[in-house]
């Protein structure tokens, strides 16, 4: 098993009600597995997950990106800076 920190922002943080979570995932788990887990726990994610990007250690990654122990995974809703 690996442990990752998952961080939430903006509307996603409102849904989850926390800034971050620690998740234990099986070896070889991908970034999209985190979204699957969140969708299981929070039904609102089902509709929204196609609009979310994932960053690992401050870089955007594709859903297939394989996670490592202690990675910082961030769920990034559409950004609105500027």
């Amino acid at each position: 098993m690996i442990e990752v920190t998952v961080k939430f922002f903006a509307s996603v943080r409102d849904i989850v009600g926390k800034d971050e979570y620690k998740y234990s995932l099986p070896e070889g788990a991908s970034a999209s597995d985190v979204l699957v887990r969140l969708s299981d726990e929070y039904s609102l994610f089902q509709d929204w997950k196609n609009h979310l990007r994932i960053a690992v250690n401050y870089e955007y990654v594709p859903p297939t990106h394989v996670l490592k122990n202690n990675d910082e995974v961030a769920i990034i809703p559409p950004v609105s800076g500027g």
Partner: protein
């Protein structure tokens, strides 16, 4: 100068930071907070950044800009926290030998910042508040109510 700041952005200081004797011009973009959104009166806004990643992405887009246009200096400063209406939320300044590069670089910086830098704004109304995300997402949230 690449920063995310809590206090009001000192626009003059940002512009001065790109001064260069070889520059023939400075292009400046100032993003300011608007008092209305979809016809509703906005009272104030809050900007929230995923700071370490936002700073990293800001450095990246500055480097991308440098690789595309011959510019002298670039400053990119974004505000976070509570902003009143009309305050600068982002200030970008680019100095270059010629104006064409300065305009194009500045345009690229603001357009790319709005797509990739993880910063979100929340608008506060008389009767509630909403995170501003893509229009498509906003529509879905509306439909849910």
């Amino acid at each position: 100068m690449i920063q995310i700041v809590k206090d009001k952005i000192n626009v003059e200081q940002v512009i001065e930071s790109v001064a260069d004797p070889a520059a023939g011009g400075v292009d400046v973009f100032i993003g300011t907070t608007r008092n209305s959104s979809n016809g509703k009166q906005v009272r104030f806004l809050e900007y929230h950044a995923y700071k370490p990643m936002a700073i990293k992405m800001m450095h990246r887009i500055v480097n991308e800009t440098r690789s595309q246009w011959d510019v002298k200096k670039i400053a990119l400063v974004h505000r976070e926290g509570r902003l009143e209406i009309g305050e600068p939320s982002v200030v970008i300044a680019v100095s270059a030998a010629h104006r064409d590069e300065a305009f194009k670089a500045c345009r690229y910086l603001i357009d790319t910042l709005k797509k990739v830098v993880p910063i979100w704004k929340k608008e506060f109304f008389e009767d509630g508040e909403v995170w501003v995300e893509s229009e498509e997402r906003m529509a879905r949230v509306e439909n849910r109510k």
